[in-house]
């Protein structure tokens, strides 16, 4: 099969916040940039981010990047890399002001400065009291950000490949990354996009769970491509459960509801977060609230006929505050929970929301992997030509648990940082390396296998089985026997996923084929998550493990690396040393 080729300075895969921020930087530097996206850029999942961008502007009272850093390290349950966290929180205000200058319609204070709302886990003076740090545009911060960045990219003449799906990463014999293969949905044709630098900004993989707030496009495409190309995946056992997904639907009720004064009740009408987090109460870190909710349900204090949800009360805020500060919430509650929150509380459950792990990078957005050369091993050798940013990357700033608002901060800061690294790399490496002759071989083999498969497995059924297995075996509460069974099951499902079949053999907009190719990525994310979770014998951040209820820093203060090849694990140290600040030493995490 002859595969067409096109060449660019940089290929960016994914057009959410991280991809768009990076592409803008690259295009404005005069580079030729191709951005691939499965959907129109402004329909990327970043559009769903309601809460805001965490940045210590200090517009609502005293604030400091050091406090933001402390909250992020503590929120991460000390698994976050402190150099990357310092970098992020110090860059954050600059990135917010940049967006403001790009025309982002932030909410304003009466004095004209950017309004900032309180958000779970963010505090003043190292945990003393809540601080207002979230820069927002009503409940549509992600939407406003995507539109602002997309318009800037159009102005900068970024080239968009819309309804294109990247299929595989291209590496040469030295390991350098030289672009991707990609499928144009409209024609069904495959193309090689030869790039001097390749950036993945493909978002998360929440669709490996049955109950998730993630959109259908969040299938972990970057993770699958990286894993197949020999890149390990980092800390994939850490999944954030958002405390307030609408029970039965997955749709998110933003933390802003609690920021504005809403709170959780159990079936007895008790405001139970007062017991679990006496200081921050309902504004404690997401994992703390999710674990508290899961405990209430497990111990029989859940509401509803099956006692399987809690109640989010906001009627006391009054219709005016709800309409003005939380305008989308009333409609969501009516549509998906069939209640009006102006009168009744919303039934909510912890729901998979965010992937803390991902493709390992440093704080410059460069992908790093363990390597052995010149007689010494380096746990973080840079993979030349390969970069990642946003949810698909693990810098790691979120560690074992991400603070609300830090996802938008992450994608802005590291989207730009990765682009700056690319610009420097291209200046230092002016040539273009040739592609290996067999560059498209892996993709061609995958497609030939799929097209030629007979008596194969149904993509829908295998996908369902992945989601059921992850939900049942890898939730907030984790049990060793269930995890062990989960590993066995997910390996069996991986075997089935290698034999998927699509009946529709057409080329033009064959969505069955696209979904089969997405499944190849989902299974890698799921396997990495389950295997990593089974091995980590401690409770840290997002999850609680039944046989090891506490954090165990002496054995487990380390990052997991999962390799597809051999389905095996390695570990690497956490960066405890910040860039300039003092190390924030691990301590018991209370709110």
């Amino acid at each position: 099969m002859a595969v067409a080729r096109r060449s660019f300075d940089a290929v960016v895969v994914g057009a959410g916040g991280a991809g768009l921020r990076a592409a803008l930087q690259l295009s404005e530097a005069g580079l030729s940039v191709a951005v691939l996206s499965k959907v129109f850029p402004t329909r990327s999942h970043t559009v769903a981010a309601q809460g805001g961008i965490g940045a210590a502007l200090g517009n609502m009272g005293e604030d400091s990047w050091l406090w933001h850093m402390y909250d992020t390290v503590k929120g991460s349950d000390w698994l976050g890399d402190q150099d990357a966290i310092e970098f992020m929180v110090r860059e954050a205000p600059k990135l917010v002001y940049e967006l403001e200058h790009f025309g982002m319609p932030f909410d304003r204070n009466e004095n004209g400065t950017v309004y900032q709302r309180p958000f779970g886990g963010h505090s003043q003076n190292f945990g003393e009291r809540p601080v207002q740090r979230s820069c927002c545009a009503a409940d549509r911060t992600g939407h406003a950000m995507l539109h602002t960045l997309y318009q800037r990219n159009v102005r900068a003449r970024t080239q968009f490949f819309v309804e294109w799906m990247a299929l595989d990463l291209l590496r040469d014999a030295s390991g350098q990354v030289l672009g991707v293969t990609a499928l144009e949905m409209e024609t069904g044709e495959v193309m090689v996009l030869h790039a001097r630098a390749t950036l993945f900004a493909t978002g998360g993989a929440g669709r490996i769970f049955s109950s998730t707030t993630n959109a259908y496009i969040c299938t972990g495409d970057g993770l699958g491509m990286a894993a197949r190309a020999g890149i390990p995946l980092e800390d994939m056992e850490f999944w954030q459960f958002h405390p307030t997904g609408v029970a039965g639907a997955g749709v998110l009720i933003t933390e802003g509801v609690r920021g504005e004064g809403g709170y959780l009740l159990n079936k007895g009408g008790e405001r139970f977060m007062e017991r679990y987090a006496p200081n921050l109460k309902d504004l404690a870190s997401r994992d703390v609230v999710s674990r508290a909710m899961a405990t209430e349900i497990k111990e029989g204090r859940g509401a509803g006929p099956r006692g399987d949800y809690l109640l989010l009360k906001l009627d006391h805020l009054g219709p005016e505050v709800i309409e003005k500060r939380l305008p989308g919430i009333r409609e969501i509650a009516k549509k998906f929970a069939d209640i009006d929150p102006v009168k009744d509380p919303i039934p909510v459950v912890p729901t998979v929301h965010y992937m803390m792990g991902g493709i390992p990078t440093n704080y410059r957005g460069e992908v790093v992997v363990p390597a052995f050369s010149n007689g010494r091993s380096d746990p973080e050798a840079v993979v030349p030509g390969f970069y990642a940013a946003g949810e698909c990357a693990c810098a790691s700033v979120h560690g074992a648990n991400r603070l609300g608002t830090n996802s938008l901060t992450d994608l802005l800061v590291f989207g730009k940082a990765a682009a700056e690294s690319i610009i420097k790399f291209l200046q230092e490496n002016p040539g273009r390396k040739d592609l290996p002759k067999d560059a498209a071989e892996r993709t061609e083999a995958r497609l030939a296998r799929l097209d030629g498969q007979t008596n194969g497995e149904s993509v829908a059924e295998v996908g369902m089985e992945i989601r059921r297995t992850m939900q049942a075996h890898c939730g907030v509460f984790r049990f060793p026997d269930m995890l062990a069974k989960g590993v066995k099951k997910i390996r069996e499902i991986a075997d089935r996923a290698s034999r998927t079949q699509v009946k529709d053999k057409s080329r033009v907009f064959n969505t069955a084929r696209i979904e089969a190719l997405e499944l190849d990525n989902l299974i890698e994310a799921a396997r990495a998550s389950m295997v990593s979770a089974e091995a980590r014998r401690e409770s840290r951040g997002a999850h609680d493990r039944a046989d090891h209820h506490s954090r165990d820093d002496s054995n487990w203060l380390k990052h997991t690396l999962w390799y597809k090849d051999g389905d095996r694990l390695e570990y690497k140290p956490v960066h405890m040393k910040p860039l300039t600040a003092r190390t924030i030493e691990p301590k018991v995490r209370t709110y």
Partner: protein, 81 residues
């Protein structure tokens, strides 16, 4: 409904959105009303799919009224999904 397989697939793909809320409603809509999608209704549905996610959700959730009479019927069907 006179759509080819590719046209229907293209339509289904356009129902992939950034907001899960929209995806759930659009999925319910296609499940219930795909057979109705022809002529003016199909044109209206395609117009709505061209909207941004928040704009579409505003219409679907009733947060905003639809100013275009040509879209009214499909918006009503979506609101009931």
């Amino acid at each position: 409904m006179n759509m080819t397989n590719a046209e229907m697939n293209r339509l289904r793909w356009s129902c992939r959105r950034g907001l899960l809320e929209n995806e759930l409603v659009l999925e319910r809509f296609l499940h219930a009303h795909a057979a109705l999608l022809e002529g003016e209704r199909l044109a209206a549905f395609k117009t709505l799919l061209g909207y941004g996610d928040d704009e579409l959700w505003d219409l679907v959730s009733g947060r905003r009224e639809c100013g275009d009479p040509a879209l009214g019927e499909v918006v009503r069907l979506l609101r009931n999904c």
